[in-house]
């Protein structure tokens, strides 16, 4: 790994950090335009009902109201990221399917008038029977949520790898356990917002939106408004966190654009906090049954999974979620024979969507918990069991993943050592315990050019570099990482690089921020574009100095000869000479990158290399359980992490620390409680997630590998680390009190209930 790097691999502060610290960074809700109108959405108060009639007359007459729109007025076009899963209208047509479903919208000169107008809309409903649990929803005779969808099951996947029947027959042990993961809200600090403008001259829309996916939003907005994509420009201002919740179009985007065209004025929609809980997205609750066949020594021979995901009222990203949930059962452990059966089931509840890990955290919880149960049953150490079954780089994979680099078994050993496994596991006093879990995550998906990133790098006359990228920085630091990569390739400083990103009107296409693919995908595009620009400049310099182009390199704004590093010329002089040689300015490099795939990977039908590369991690937790109150304190979490080479170790740590604390919330505190379709805790007062007080000691161990595909050897670092904190914590709770929880979250009430009944060790 002897690559000499100046900017990549360094703890470079975020390029927009100063603006954020000064409070001048602009988020969507910070945008104000002259004459701007304010919008508000009327939501369904019923979990399932037919809309008989909507009377908007009173709302329209209210002073200050400039527009009212209902599902009847809008085109018959459904939206969604995945074309075959589109099942949602911007405003409900004919029927509402959950409490919070979008029914109508108004815009007015101020928010007060908009709120009053919404309350004046009268909707006549015919209430329908509703269903709230996926296991009830699939039963014969359950209420039909979407016409024509049998058993309310909108997506099913059944994949078999190897010979499962034979492998189970050859197993010495077979274990079967069922697990449940709850609904978790992403709770980004910035509420969802959109501001739209319409230009009647060019007949085009400009929409500022708190989105993770500007280009998918453009596609969905254009198709639901029934205008060409070229008529819609999406600009992503600063986004205050997303974690997957901002992967989708929402009613606020559509209605802002709709009213902007109707009124000719800018229109702003901002969701309130309770709307984020009720009407955006949440992590799918999931029931998972795992059956594992093993040899006496603990070698996994086969696994069989059956999963029911509670999708709520609509699909959102359902197919992707189910596919991820399935494929990532075959990594980071060697599972040669596997059957996965997964179902996405509608209920009359808030909608499930992508959330950090996207279907994998639920599966990981089941697998990692079961491994610990098995370790007890067959009397083997949980770390040893995991190491024994760890996948290794280069080995053949049942679904044809290509694993070029893999530090997983090292991650396990190092995390165990750092938590003090040998001294502590099974040896601490009652109430204290340690636990471990592992995971792997893709760096985006290989899905041919459909998922490709573009980049343009321009070198200006004064040596400043302008980068255009479609990548959507939602706070993770994507723009900083891309700027670092470009600065490294061109041998300039971070101050020389300016980045313009996530504006569909000016930037090349990019799929957006999801699947943890940004650094590898958009980073590679930026690297290639910068290399092309460099090549053009070097061509001139080589001629001017009468040297071979391949002998040139650049560092600290100085272009030099590799064979004689003292010789060369400054970056600026080279540019000056280039201009005077009458060569075209600015120097522009362009590139597009998508993951190399030897066969089409459609996620559903065909096997193939799922992702350009795979990160690995093991996480070890130490907990303290108060036997009197049931309170659980996460004392420490160590993550040993193979994310390839970190482009920016400080940002990688930030991702890791945020992931650990988020995973801790999933394990111990967070749960979107729904009763008869009504979210009971849609506020930060009632839905608790970790604060400064719960923050554990966080340790990070870098298990560096040098990946051949990622830019400068990088792999993903954004999502994988949120997969295994929850099972590691629950495994540690077992070690502390001898109770095996199979449902999340593990709360003090549940602990006390078991302890009072005399349970535990």
């Amino acid at each position: 790994m002897e690559k000499e790097l100046n900017i990549v691999g360094k703890r470079v502060p975020m390029h927009d950090g100063v603006a954020k610290a000064r409070g001048t960074a602009q988020f969507t809700d910070d945008l104000v335009f002259p004459g701007m109108l304010y919008g508000k959405i009327l939501r369904s108060p019923l979990p399932h009902a037919r809309i008989i009639h909507i009377d908007t007359a009173k709302a329209r007459k209210l002073s200050g109201v400039k527009g009212v729109v209902t599902g009847q007025d809008i085109p018959d076009r459904q939206y969604g990221i995945v074309p075959k899963a589109r099942d949602e209208y911007a405003l409900a047509k004919g029927k509402v399917r959950y409490i919070g479903d979008d029914v109508a919208a108004v815009c007015a000169v101020d928010l007060e008038a908009a709120e009053e107008a919404v309350s004046l809309i009268k909707v006549e409903y015919e209430e329908l029977p509703a269903v709230y649990d996926p296991l009830d929803s699939i039963k014969e005779g359950a209420p039909v949520i979407h016409e024509g969808v049998d058993h309310n099951t909108s997506m099913s996947i059944r994949k078999e790898f190897g010979d499962v029947k034979k492998a189970f027959a050859e197993s010495d042990h077979i274990f079967e356990d069922t697990f449940y993961s709850q609904a978790v809200n992403h709770a980004p600090m910035e509420p969802h917002a959109a501001v739209a403008q319409y230009d009647h001259l060019g007949e085009h829309f400009t929409v500022y939106s708190s989105t993770q996916i500007p280009y998918f939003l453009r596609r969905n907005l254009a198709s639901t408004l029934m205008v060409p994509e070229s008529k819609v420009r999406i600009i992503k201002p600063k986004v205050g966190g997303g974690f997957g919740q901002k992967i989708d179009m929402f009613a606020k985007d559509f209605c802002a654009a709709w009213f902007a065209r109707e009124t000719g004025r800018a229109v702003k929609f901002v969701y309130e906090r309770d709307e984020l809980f009720i009407s955006t997205r949440q992590r799918h609750p999931m029931y998972i049954t795992v059956r594992t066949g093993m040899k006496k020594d603990g070698t996994i021979l086969a696994q069989q999974f059956k999963a029911h995901a509670d999708g709520g009222a609509y699909n959102s990203t359902a197919p992707t979620m189910i596919a991820l949930s399935c494929y990532f059962l075959m990594i980071p452990y060697r599972v040669p024979n596997l059957i996965y059966e997964g179902h996405h089931v509608y209920t009359n509840k808030p909608v499930g969507g992508a959330m950090r890990g996207h279907g994998i955290p639920q599966a990981r919880f089941a697998v990692e918990r079961q491994l610990d149960l098995i370790a007890q049953r067959i009397g083997i150490d949980p770390v040893e069991l995991r190491v024994k079954n760890s996948i290794q780089a280069g080995e053949p994979h049942p679904a044809k993943f290509i694993i070029n680099t893999c530090g997983f078994s090292d991650c396990l050993k190092q995390a165990a050592e750092a938590i003090g496994w040998k001294e502590k596991r099974g040896k601490l006093p009652k109430g204290r315990g340690v636990g471990i879990a592992g995971a792997s995550f893709p760096s985006g998906v290989s899905n041919m050019s459909h998922i490709s990133s573009g980049s343009v790098v321009q070198i200006g006359q004064d040596g400043a570099v302008n980068v255009l990228s479609g990548a959507a920085d939602i706070g993770q630091g994507a723009e900083t990482v891309i700027a670092q990569i470009v600065a490294e390739v061109l041998g300039v400083t971070m101050e020389d690089v300016r980045i313009t990103a996530a504006d569909t009107g000016t930037c090349p296409m990019d799929p957006g921020t999801f699947g943890s693919g940004v650094t590898v995908r958009a980073g590679n595009a930026a690297r290639l574009a910068a290399e092309e620009a460099r090549k053009k400049l070097f061509k001139y310099v080589a001629k001017h100095l009468d040297v071979e182009r391949d002998d040139l390199a650049v560092k600290d704004r100085f272009i030099y000869l590799k064979s004689s590093p003292g010789k060369g010329m400054s970056f600026k002089d080279a540019l000056k000479g280039y201009q005077y040689a009458d060569l075209p300015m600015p120097i522009v490099g362009r590139a597009s990158w998508f993951a190399p795939s030897t066969e089409p990977t459609t996620l559903f039908k065909d096997d193939g290399n799922f992702a350009p590369n795979y990160s690995f991690m093991a996480q070890a937790a130490e907990v303290d359980v108060d036997l009197e109150t049931g309170q659980i304190k996460l004392l420490k979490m160590v993550t040993a992490h193979d994310c390839g080479r970190a482009i920016n170790p400080m940002l990688v740590e930030g991702q890791l620390e945020g992931s650990v604390v988020g995973g801790m919330g999933q394990a111990l505190y967070e749960n979107v409680i729904v009763e008869k379709g009504q979210v009971m805790n849609p506020s930060f007062l009632d839905y608790g997630f970790p604060t400064f007080l719960e923050m554990p000691e966080i340790g990070a161990i870098e298990v560096e590998t040098d990946d051949p595909i990622g830019p400068f050897g990088a792999k993903e670092a954004g999502e994988g680390t949120q997969l295994s904190p929850a099972p590691a914590i629950v495994n540690a709770i077992y070690d502390a009190i001898g109770v095996d929880f199979k449902e999340l979250p593990v709360t003090p009430e549940k602990i006390l209930e078991v302890l009072e009944k005399g349970g535990g060790k």
Partner: protein
């Protein structure tokens, strides 16, 4: 009903027409265009709207604008009014205490209130007093480091 009041914000005097139920946050953002103060929950539960009133941290989303009369109000825009960053801002940037940046102004204002009270607060004090400021990105660790470092207590392991 509405009343003209005078507010002292970041050392400047503003005359604003407000209704009795209008919050300070609404006046700051919607009337004065001081957008650095963020609206995260509008319920006093996230801390993104934190401002200083006579040097102490207050949640501007649950404080009536009229209650700000006669007091010194400071927002993130008032922390520095030159090109120079305030030491807290500098530390947040340098230590990676910022990711999406939405909670950052509120975090920095609460930290300033802590430093107004004690020059060298302990790590425990910082955590306890900042517990009303939520962040979903950072996991808090680098924010604690940033505040410690701004208070001249750099290098201590958190």
């Amino acid at each position: 009903m509405k009343k003209i009041i005078s507010l002292s914000i970041n050392g400047d005097q503003y005359e604003v027409l407000v209704s009795p139920n209008q919050t300070l946050l609404e006046v700051l953002r919607d009337q004065l265009g001081l957008m650095g103060t963020k609206r995260g929950c509008d319920l006093g539960a996230c801390g993104a709207c934190t401002v200083l009133i006579n040097g102490e941290a207050y949640l501007s989303c649950i404080m009536l604008a009229m209650d700000g009369v006669g007091k010194e109000i400071q927002t993130i825009e008032g922390l520095t009014q030159t090109r120079e960053l305030h030491p807290l801002q500098e530390a947040f940037v340098k230590e990676g205490g910022i990711q999406c940046g939405f909670c950052t102004p509120g975090m920095i204002m609460t930290a300033q209130a802590i430093l107004n009270e004690a020059e060298k607060p302990s790590e425990e004090t910082i955590k306890r007093k900042m517990a009303g400021n939520l962040c979903r990105c950072t996991g808090y660790k680098k924010i604690v480091t940033a505040v410690m470092s701004a208070a001249g207590q750099a290098g201590e392991e958190v």
